[in-house]
Symmetry: C2
Subunit: 145 residues, 2 copies
Amino acid sequence: MREERDIFGKYLSRHNLRDTPQRELILDTFLKREEHISAEQLYDIIKKRDPSIGQATVYRNLKLLSEAGLAREVDFGDGVLRYEHNYNHPHHDHLICRSCGKTVEVVDAVIEELQKRIAEQYGFELTDHKMYLYGNCGNCRKKSK
Amino acid sequence: MREERDIFGKYLSRHNLRDTPQRELILDTFLKREEHISAEQLYDIIKKRDPSIGQATVYRNLKLLSEAGLAREVDFGDGVLRYEHNYNHPHHDHLICRSCGKTVEVVDAVIEELQKRIAEQYGFELTDHKMYLYGNCGNCRKKSK
DNA sequence: ATGCAAATGATAATCAATATCAATATAGGT
DNA sequence: ACCTATATTGATATTGATTATCATTTGCAT
């Protein structure tokens, strides 16, 4: 948390950007939450602490946190962009329940390696990827029986 | 092509839906194109044959084609939903060039198997997945040198 | 303290996609 | 062929997430 603040502070000064109370509030609130969060959701939470904050500011600064390497955008395909922690939070993919929305973070070294190989096969240099596994979680399967 | 028309026709009558010239035109035009296409792009093409067609009709019927199993939605994450053939066109994933947008369809049986296994590990029953590999294709890499 | 560029907040604008709704067209029965 | 019920269409308005605009405020280097 202190580290993240440092990184952000350095990113700001290195890019001639300014340190504002709104930015600090957004960073802190974002860091306190562990799950993926949308700009809208974060805005709702932040409004309680500072009712005068504008939602455009939240949108803007989540983008900024991504550029600074502290957040990462996640697109589950439901039309809403979410953000997750990027610092000390290595790459992973997502397993998502189609009926309750529960998500699990997963990684598989073999898959990662195969992806790289596939790309090379077609002359591509792989930069990144998105993999979303959709299904029904144990709970939901029980309920529907 | 005849087969697809048959399937569509049967789907329509089975669901108490009607056979309209617009639907036929949309299906035919969609089938003629091999690449992924957005509703907007398809609309632009179709307008040339039938300038009186409404774009809502194109949107509506691409959704319908998906439900009938003839099309499949693809979301590359750029905010536009695209459609690709689904009949006689088995599941595959996509390799996408970040700089020119070129796409290649890929499949890897091992990855597919691993995905299923990961899901099971977490008590999920896998229904489907999305995997997009992003990188730079051979051509673009040459150019940037 | 001062000045300038960056940031904010309110609001309007985008953009893809969907909803609404009156007018039209289709399919099945007569 | 004609009716009729209802699906479909096309035009348009609306939505919902996100971004752009812009006047005002603010951070910060000098």
